[in-house]
């Protein structure tokens, strides 16, 4: 089975995000980056399917030059090769524009299965996989918690809301968006890291893929959200703050 895993590099989860005064985007100069967490689970799902059923795992990643470090990490974990859609203007793309580039790169691979995370930790649009599926004319299923390979089809467990699940069966080729927690992530081994250096990492430009479509939706500015509530912060060392909080719970919230 040939599996494409689409993954994105995002600022590390604990990044302190600053929007410089007068700027419309965050200061990226001292951020560290990582593989988007749901995409890491998608990669792991792809690697496990390959181990069970044979085949190949190809990583497709759209991002600036620096995204190569995340691609190398994916190769070190066991992906066979990678395509890097290298472009420094992707932050201006909207979800349809990005989906168009990814779909073009994935179409050229003609995979049996496309996996990606259900959403990105930075923009959180939660739609790339479904957009790509539609552009490729493939069936899709989202928020997947388990994948079972049948003959020419897959049976997957979709997460619904409020603790409900559902099994659905899709003919291959198909696109799945993977939920965090579907499996246990592996670490790259030293051997894997060494091997990754010799694996194919092919850079392509947006123009190679037919060009990045003009954005329909423009992000005008980002800013810290206003607080919905006035939070009363309890100050002091841990003991002082905790004692003050316990008093609030007793005398104001009246739950003690």
């Amino acid at each position: 089975m040939k599996i494409v895993v689409a993954l994105k590099q995002v600022p590390s989860r604990d990044s302190a995000l600053r929007v410089p005064p007068g700027e419309s985007w965050i200061d990226e100069s001292d951020l560290t980056y990582e593989i988007n967490e749901p995409d890491a689970y998608a990669l792991e799902a792809g690697l496990q399917l390959k181990e069970q059923h044979g085949g190949e795992v190809v990583v497709v990643c759209a991002g600036p030059e620096g995204a190569a470090s995340s691609i190398r990490e994916a190769l070190a974990k066991g992906a066979d090769r990678a395509v890097h859609i290298e472009d420094d203007t992707l932050h201006q793309a909207d979800s349809l524009g990005l989906g168009t580039l990814l779909a073009a790169a994935i179409r050229a691979e003609a995979p049996d299965l496309v996996l990606t995370g259900l959403q990105s930790d930075d923009l959180g649009s939660g739609q790339t996989g479904v957009v790509v599926a539609e552009l490729l004319g493939l069936p899709s299923a989202t928020i997947i918690m388990a994948v079972e390979v049948l003959d020419g089809a897959i049976r997957v467990k979709r997460e619904l809301e409020d603790g409900w699940f559902q099994h659905v069966t899709l003919p291959l080729p198909a696109v799945l968006t993977i939920q965090s927690g579907i499996n246990k992530l592996r670490y790259a081994t030293l051997m894997g890291i060494k091997k990754a250096k010799t694996k194919e990492l092919r850079a392509v430009s947006a123009d190679d893929l037919g060009g990045l479509p003009a954005a329909q939706v423009a992000c005008e500015k980002v800013y810290l959200p206003g607080r919905g509530k006035q939070t009363q912060l309890l100050e002091g060392d841990a003991k002082t703050a905790a004692t003050a909080l316990a008093d609030k719970l007793k005398f104001e919230v009246r739950v003690i």
């Binding site: 349809l96 959180g124 739609q127 809301e161 329909q216 959200p225 905790a242």
Partner: protein
């Protein structure tokens, strides 16, 4: 010029987020019609211009292919300027497909609207972003749970118009939905919930939070990563994929407060946040907050509570 809101129902019960989406859609200042897949039901008694009831045997069970095809036909026939959805799991499964079929961008999980701008949350709720809406319609948007007040939707007597569709080519076969755990724990009945997140770092540290819950006489709950790791059972998960709770007090320990968690608890009467990161989104909804190391604060709070209880 009109707005179409697509409602969601299962077994005749409408998803409450659909009413919120209608309230949001009214921001555009245009007549709002709604589409139901299935009978018009409760939608026929709401303050909307018209109800398009789409009924077809092949739409009885949800499928992305079937829903996309049906709504594509309705949108082509009625030409709405805006198509608004509740941002449910089901909508996430098909709305991007529908918008893409029109060559349009789907603007998802919107928390605030004007006629020309949609506000979305980025970085798990740490930042807001203003997006200029596309110049031409149909513009596809979904509305975050709880961002608008569904109870502001008044009563009405809209015309109900059956809309006939042709459905073919459904590729995904769905089985009946099921629940995994028997829900032995009903968090919705608890007055006090102490909830734990990633900040707890190790499974063995959960005990510290359990002691606080016990001292308060409350239930312990968790954000998704804790349950994914198997540190607490899934049935104790609060958030969009877990339970939605509204206790008298909700104490979030080491929980950053990503959107998916907040939708499950922001209705709590009082929210307390204990987190080392003063910029964590949880503080946006907290009534009381302690910015500090939970490994110092939680034992101190347990002690203080025990002392007050004598």
């Amino acid at each position: 010029m009109s707005v179409l809101v697509v409602l969601e129902q299962s077994n005749g019960a409408f998803h409450r987020m659909g009413w919120e989406a209608i309230v949001a859609a009214k921001e555009f200042g245009l007549p709002v019609s709604v589409a139901t897949i299935g009978p018009a039901g409760d939608a026929a008694s709401k303050d909307v211009a018209k109800v398009y009831a789409i009924e077809h045997a092949d739409l009885a069970a949800y499928s992305a292919d079937g829903y996309t095809s049906a709504l594509e036909q309705l949108i082509r026939a009625t030409n709405p300027e805006y198509v608004v959805f509740p941002h449910t799991y089901q909508v996430r499964d098909f709305a991007p497909k529908l918008a893409t079929r029109f060559g349009k961008v789907f603007i998802s999980d919107v928390v605030k609207l004007t006629k020309t701008t949609a506000v979305r949350q980025l970085f798990q709720g740490k930042l807001n972003a203003d997006y200029a809406l596309p110049a031409s319609g149909p513009r596809f948007l979904s509305i975050q749970a709880g961002a608008f007040r569904g109870d502001q939707l008044g009563a009405g007597t809209p015309a109900v118009e059956p809309f006939a569709v042709q459905i073919s080519g459904i590729r995904v076969k769905a089985e009946a939905p099921f629940r995994e755990s028997s829900r032995a724990v009903d968090l919705t009945a608890a007055d006090i919930i102490v909830s734990v997140g990633r900040g707890i770092k190790e499974q063995e540290n959960i005990a510290m939070v359990e002691e606080l819950a016990a001292a308060l006489g409350g239930e312990i709950a968790a954000s998704r990563p804790i349950c994914d790791n198997g540190w607490l059972p899934m049935e104790r998960q609060v958030g969009s994929s877990g339970q939605t709770v509204a206790p008298k007090v909700y104490i979030a320990v080491g929980i950053s407060g990503a959107i998916q968690h907040q939708v499950g608890m922001k209705g709590s009467k009082c929210i307390v946040a204990i987190n080392k990161d003063a910029d964590a989104p949880i503080f946006e909804v907290a009534d009381y907050g302690i910015v500090g190391d939970l490994f110092d604060v939680v034992p101190a709070l347990t002690e203080a509570v025990k002392k007050l209880k004598g």
